[in-house]
Symmetry: C2
Subunit: 404 residues, 2 copies
């Protein structure tokens, strides 16, 4: 008998019909001879309603009270799902984060899971192989106060639970059928991958593929939790995420991703002297601003330009910080641009296969799309280009790598 | 510095404006030099929404999961109220039933409070005299499962909390200004009482005055918790409920109450032999059906009739039980009637003042209202009459006792 942790997101539990559908998936998994622990998000509407109630009363409410408020959302979806399973005649119990023994650090609204005390869950499973429904996204801290895990929290709850229970599999049910070689809404021929490595998934997730949150993939890799991403609406296998996968036949590339959350900052006419790059990037790092692609021009007339990208939300703040230190850094002017997108191809072992990058550049050249900046790593090649050409870029790159 | 427990019901927290009003009352009480622990009910709409969500999925959901679901209602109102108080600049924290240490027995949906572990609340009060907002209506049982207290649960939470904290006063805020000599919607001249004894309040509550739930009054009497019933909408003193009150000048009657939750059962042509009454009422008692007024006719032709009243909801079940045992009991037929109401006058020491009952009967006689059954006790006189005449009966009785 295998132990399977299943996670269902907000859209999978959005209304009574969908909750019944989730109940069907869970009970079918149990009927197949497994034990099931299901982690549920809040119904999408519930969270929106709660947030607007809070905003009406106090737009600057403490995170502690926001967590107290929002954590009710999962408690509602979990008890409703348990009721649906009761109706089907299976033993079931819903548990909140604290009842399920999910202990976090103190950080309200963005807590990290410290440990899961699985005793209660194990007891419930041992008694009649009860189905256990656990609230995702939440836990308690050392003060016995409710905390929430922030973005992607329910995925993280599920992976952490699977790790703590030494589950055989952690299934992340979502509204897509798995991980694709590109966004199926953009690329008609996008293919669902049967398998992908943790590292590849991490790159895709951080590049805006929006299937699994980074934190959960990092945790799955760390604890070697076998993941499967699949749809709660289609009854078919999804994509397995694991350490090693069978190499694909023709190519090392597993996917093309698009990320519009990019702001580019250009420092123009910097004095060309040592230590300038260090100064710029240590200032930003102190402010907790991550820099992604960096491009430095060849010097001319004893000046040079440095351009780099940050998350779009961080761009204004980065500009402010650099303006404050203008005299120390020594530049003539600073430019911000937001109408850019980052397109990346991802695949383990890409670095050993130099033809991959040039194949990407060729596809863009043939489509007459101009590349603004380039960045490469072990398992990805990223280019920055005009946002208006981003979708077409994904299509031509995907065509080049995946179409027969 | 006094410690005051304040309870606010569902209508007092129904929307953002009302929550702000509650926050104002709480902070003004603290500004006056007190510590405040506030017990809140759920917003009325929230509970209705949750119940309809549950009904859509499983009308026969377990009580355990219903409690899990419904207990989110108070968590929502409490965190919202804490946010409103935060905005006013006071130290505040909201706590759920389990965080506030409210331990109950196992009975889901109708749990009884066993003990309150006040350590957490006391710690919060000791730190900056923080205002503590606690979810009413709920606790946890020995399995760490969430339980709810059933009807009147939040009043009971408040009184139990006041008892556990040895609070100086427990204020029950509601949408009426206190306890009246009759329902002000029925009787124009109804007067607000300044004081009333626990026993009188108990009779009024059980007779449908709907101000305070019986359980909370019983608990207040047991632990000698000084209660005050007052309005969250009017800024004036309410009614104090305590052990001994100053006697009122002119009359022993403190109020006239109407109770429409009455079903009358008549057993017609019973054989007139010993033990029949015992059989009838022990059968009902075993089924947990409380019998209120009993009337037994004088025997004739070796038969007699017995009529008695039960709560309206229990009437059909009582009839079924008696029908089942028809041959043992020995009666000809059984009649149910529902178009009756019970009107009562309440006042401590009434039994020593026989004129009170006859004054009531006289008022009804002069208004040409027929009395069907009569019942008296230490502190009340109840009559059963046609429901259609109930309101007029309250008015004429109130006029007789209270109008100058």
């Amino acid at each position: 008998m295998a132990l399977i942790v299943q996670k269902f997101g907000g859209s999978s539990v959005a209304n009574a019909d969908r909750i019944r559908n989730v109940a069907r998936i869970i009970t079918e998994t149990r009927e197949a001879g497994n034990s099931v622990v299901a982690i549920l998000s809040a119904q999408g509407d519930t969270t929106d309603d709660l947030i607007s109630k809070a905003l009406e009363i106090n737009p600057k409410a403490s995170k502690r009270e926001m967590d107290m408020l929002l954590s009710t959302g999962e408690q509602i979806s979990c008890s409703l799902c348990a009721m649906a399973i009761e109706k089907m005649g299976y033993p079931v119990i819903s548990l909140t984060g604290w009842q399920a023994g999910i202990h976090t650090n103190r950080a309200y609204s963005d807590a990290r899971i410290k440990k899961i005390d699985t005793e209660r869950i194990q007891t419930e499973i041992d008694r009649n192989n009860s189905i256990v429904i656990v609230t995702g996204f939440q836990g308690i801290n050392k003060y016995d106060d409710v905390t929430t895990l922030g973005r992607g929290g329910s995925d993280t709850s599920a992976v952490a639970m699977a790790a703590a229970l030494k589950a055989d599999l952690c299934q992340i049910y979502t509204d897509v059928e798995g991980v694709y070689t590109a966004d199926p809404r953009l690329v008609e021929n996008a293919k669902k991958l049967d398998e992908i490595t943790y590292d590849e998934m991490l790159e895709l997730a951080s590049l805006g593929a929006q299937v699994l949150h980074n934190r959960s993939v990092e945790m799955a890799k760390k604890y070697q939790v076998k993941l499967e991403v699949l749809s709660s609406f289609a009854n078919k296998p999804g994509t397995q995420v694991k350490e090693v996968v069978k190499p694909m036949e023709k190519t090392h590339v597993v996917g093309v991703a698009k990320d519009k959350n990019v702001g580019r900052i250009a420092l123009v006419e910097l004095e060309d002297r040592p230590g300038i790059a260090y100064k710029v990037f240590s200032l930003l790092s102190k402010a907790n601003i991550n820099v992604d692609i960096i491009l430095q021009s060849i010097g001319r007339d004893n000046t040079k330009d440095i351009s780099f990208t940050v998350k779009r939300d961080d761009a204004e703040k980065a500009k402010e910080i650099l303006e404050e230190h203008k005299s120390v850094i020594g530049f003539k002017r600073i430019d911000l641009s937001f109408n850019l997108a980052k397109i990346s191809i991802v695949g383990a072992g890409m670095i050993d296969n130099p033809g991959v990058a040039s194949q990407m550049f060729q596809a863009l050249y043939e489509a007459d799309i101009n590349i603004r900046m380039i960045s490469t790593s072990e398992i990805k090649v990223s280019v920055l280009l005009d946002e208006s050409e981003a979708e077409r870029a994904v299509q031509v790159i995907h065509q080049s790598f995946f179409d027969e």
